[in-house]
């Protein structure tokens, strides 16, 4: 499965209940077509995204991870997407240490009205990951646990 031509990446997408998940609903209602490679998980807020989820996805065989939430300032929980943003950058650095290309994870703000944008961004991301080829990342469960607990100490805001 090395030739990127007929390689179909699998991407796990985390959406927030208030904006990006509804953007996905919107894309659906408007019948906007996009690549079938993304499988979405609904969280209440992008702030809920525990870095372990991302590691779990990669170790479980995902080739890319999409993290999405409300636009900065529009968070249903006031400001939690900023915390997601903060974590995202931290996380990306850790992933690089773990040998995962930064191109395999993407942060995307999408309001409930932006179904078209979401679809468009998903397509771009799928292409990006397809170009990177399969990941096949399989670290020992223990590493994930360890990494997860040490590297994500929040700096009290």
């Amino acid at each position: 499965m090395t030739d990127t031509q007929n390689f179909e990446p699998v991407i796990i997408g985390f959406t927030c209940n208030w904006c990006s998940y509804r953007a996905a609903d919107m894309a659906g209602t408007a019948r906007i077509k996009y690549e079938p490679n993304v499988r979405l998980i609904r969280l209440m807020c992008s702030g809920r995204l525990d870095p372990t989820f991302v590691l779990k996805a990669f170790s479980g065989g995902a080739d890319g991870v999409l993290v999405s939430g409300c636009h900065p300032g529009d968070c249903h929980y006031v400001e939690q997407n900023y915390k997601a943003l903060r974590r995202f950058h931290l996380l990306r650095r850790v992933l690089v240490q773990m040998g995962i290309e930064p191109g395999r994870i993407k942060l995307l703000w999408a309001s409930a009205a932006e179904g078209a944008i979401l679809a468009d961004e998903i397509n771009k991301f799928v292409e990006q990951v397809r170009a990177l080829g399969p990941l096949n990342w399989k670290p020992a469960q223990s590493i994930i646990e360890a990494q997860a607990s040490v590297s994500f100490q929040e700096v009290p805001a």
Binding site: W18, A27, G28, P36, R39, M44, G47, P51, G61, D74
Partner: protein
């Protein structure tokens, strides 16, 4: 760790065809069959597909299985949980299963509707279902939270929509705070003279409602004020309102108006008179203003600017003028909020070829409303900007700033009828030749098209063509001193130049200039055009994504008076329904701290925007107050000790769902051709 090796749950999987909506792209039978076989080891004891799961028959199917097969978990693969989660939870409840042990996964919005490749869509559906199954294993029986609902309601915006909503609620016997940014309620409707299609006088039908709103025992009218902060959630909002200083003591003022007579300072009134008329520095925007107390406009008051004058103070018979008043912040608790902040008029200066601002006798629709208004700057005389000349020919331009990718892409929906009204008034009051320039005539509502017929009968000229330009550059003696409207008469396919004395631009409706701030303040989202988004465009047009906050009138999109009134009333009905229930049930999605695991590091404390997490210094542990917690889960994700768990979205639930989603990767790769 988070893997029930041999789950002892009995899971039922139900795949919906949704007619052909899902079945058209997804092989639902295959999906059901696959779930039954491949997910057996995960506890799936039955998997069915059915035409319409949400139909009563579909629900009975589930209920029957729960009873007969003793299902302990249910996964429904159908549409978005935002549509039918409640339906299926209720079904479970009816069959004696805790409603929160049901998981609804979306294979319509997220699969059949957005993909074309049948194989790929089918495989993805399987993955989504696998994810749902893994997740549902970890569901816990929950009981919804109930919180008392505060009986008071905040209505923001005192236009016709807001007034209607406030009156409906007040009449039902519940308290309302009606907040208005301007000195008086009434909104745009107060500026109009006549209303289409019946042509009854705007003031005559509006002012009684205004007076009612101003005097109603259940309505607290707070004009010349703005909402600055909103806290809390449905049932219990805490709002902060900035009361701008009136510099008039409303206890003493009796609204006699002497101060306005005596004030020497004339100011162009950009708001109520649309820049066409003057007011004083101390003023009520119009005679029937509610409340009747004037305000002093600090920027233009001679006393505030130069320290002299004080004429108003001198002559006030009740000594109501009080230059020392300061801005006040009012705090109040309300259970629900209705937003009715209205619209702004499109600024035609943005279309230079229409000459507004350069050519004296090009007017906006709002300016013309004031011209025709008996209480307006010309006492209802339709005259050119010189204030005396009566126009002999009038051109009315539709779709100004609307239906145009360069400005607003949408149809402002009121302009056609408004323009027909203008045509009638201009013809009736000046006997002028009237030309209407339109792209499409849109008169869909009750007795609107009849009004069009009437105006046709009155002899108005209708030219189908979007006006290209308006100029004073004459090409022949006939055009000297006129405004020349250049247009293609598309019905004869010829370019025409029509000289007129007066042009009225039927400018479109736009979201308020500060709509973004408003959306943020109340935690709502705007469409790309800037209108607030309703919960469902057809089935829930006055509710929003945020429980307890409703919208009415033009803040939701362009609409005319009848539609605004309808929405005001509808929003009120929603509010009353909730108040009647005395308490609101809320999703039991909350975070809880495992006191034994908590190390007391306090990282979570600063993460909560609702200050729901308190720290017990004595025991050095944190605790979540379920009444304040909104369930975002940020603290859950942040806790280094994994001591905080979120009901409904626990680590196990999400991690297992990930596993499920990835279950048939390898197979999927082979199955799907690129």
């Amino acid at each position: 760790m988070h893997e029930k090796e041999h789950p002892n749950e009995k899971i039922g999987v139900y795949v919906c065809h949704c007619g052909s909506n899902i079945a058209g792209t997804v092989d639902v039978e295959d999906v059901a069959k696959w779930a039954a076989e491949q997910l057996k080891h995960r506890g799936v004891v039955i998997a069915r597909d059915y035409k319409f799961m949400c139909s009563s028959l579909g629900q009975e199917l589930i209920e029957k299985d729960i009873k007969e097969l003793g299902l302990t978990r249910v996964v429904v693969a159908a549409c978005s949980p935002h549509l039918h989660e409640l339906t299926f939870r209720t079904a479970c409840k009816n069959a004696g299963l805790n409603p929160y042990l049901c998981e609804l996964v979306s294979i319509r919005e997220q699969c059949s509707w957005v993909h074309t490749n049948r194989t790929a869509a089918t495989e993805k559906s399987k993955a989504i279902i696998a994810g749902g199954v893994e997740r549902v294993i970890w569901h816990e029986p929950l009981t919804p939270l109930k919180v008392p609902i505060h009986p008071a309601t905040l209505v923001v915006g005192g236009g016709i929509a807001g007034i209607q909503a406030a009156l409906e609620i007040a009449d039902a016997g519940y308290p309302v705070y009606l907040v208005e940014r301007e000195p008086s309620i009434g909104g745009h409707m107060a500026q109009f003279d006549k209303t289409f299609p019946t042509l009854d006088c705007s003031a005559c039908i509006l002012t009684p409602k205004m007076v009612l709103a101003g005097t109603h025992p259940n309505i607290t009218l707070i004009s010349w004020a703005e909402v600055t902060h909103v806290d809390g959630y449905v049932g219990n909002f805490q709002v902060t309102i900035k009361q701008k200083p009136r510099y008039v003591n409303t206890e003493l003022c009796n609204g006699c108006g002497i101060c306005q007579e005596k004030c020497p300072k004339k100011v162009i009134d950009d708001i109520f008179e649309a820049g066409l008329g003057n007011r004083k520095a101390v003023y009520t925007p119009f005679p029937q203003a509610v409340p009747r107390y004037p305000v002093i406009d600090r920027e233009n008051c001679t006393y505030f600017q130069k320290g002299t004058c004080r004429a108003c103070e001198k002559f006030c018979p009740t000594n109501a003028i009080d230059f020392t008043q300061k801005e006040e912040l009012l705090q109040m608790d309300v259970g629900q909020i209705i937003l009715a902040t209205g619209y702004d008029l499109f600024d035609p200066r943005r279309i230079p070829q229409y000459g507004y601002g350069r050519l004296a006798n090009v007017f906006t629709s709002l300016e013309f409303e004031r011209l025709t208004n008996a209480a307006g700057p010309t006492g209802g005389k339709i005259v050119l900007r010189d204030g005396v000349t009566v126009p002999k020919t009038v051109g009315i331009v539709h779709c100004v700033g609307s239906r145009d990718k360069n400005y607003n892409n949408y149809c402002s929906s009121i302009c056609c009828m408004q323009s027909l009204k203008f045509a009638h008034l201009a013809e009736e009051r000046t006997g002028a030749e009237v030309y209407n320039f339109y792209i499409d005539m849109r008169t869909p509502a009750k007795s609107y098209d009849e009004f069009y017929q009437r105006v046709l009968e009155e002899g108005t000229h209708f030219i189908r063509g979007r006006v290209a330009s308006i100029s004073d550059a004459a090409r022949n003696p006939g055009e000297e001193g006129k405004l020349i409207i250049q247009v293609e008469d598309t019905l004869i396919g010829k370019q025409r130049r029509i000289p007129v004395d007066m042009v009225i631009l039927s400018a479109g409706l736009e979201p308020r200039r500060d709509h973004k701030e408003t959306a943020r303040l109340f935690g709502l989202s705007c469409s790309a055009d800037g209108w607030l988004i309703e919960r469902h465009p057809k089935l829930d047009p006055v509710a929003t994504m945020t429980e307890g906050i409703l919208i009415a009138g033009c803040v939701q999109g362009p609409k005319d008076i009848p539609a605004s009134v309808v929405q005001g009333a509808a929003a009120a009905a929603r509010v009353l329904g909730k108040i009647q229930q005395k308490e609101v049930t809320m999703e039991p999605i909350r975070a809880t701290v495992d006191q034994d695991k908590c190390s007391g590091c306090r990282i979570c404390n600063n993460l909560c925007p609702f200050n729901a997490i308190l720290f017990h210094a004595d025991r050095a542990v944190s605790e979540v107050n379920p009444a304040l917690c909104q369930g975002c889960g940020t603290c859950v994700a942040a806790c280094p000790a994994g001591a905080i768990s979120g009901t409904g979205f626990s680590d196990q639930q999400v991690l297992s769902q990930i596993e499920g989603l990835l279950m048939l990767n390898v197979r999927q790769l082979e199955a799907v051709p690129a």
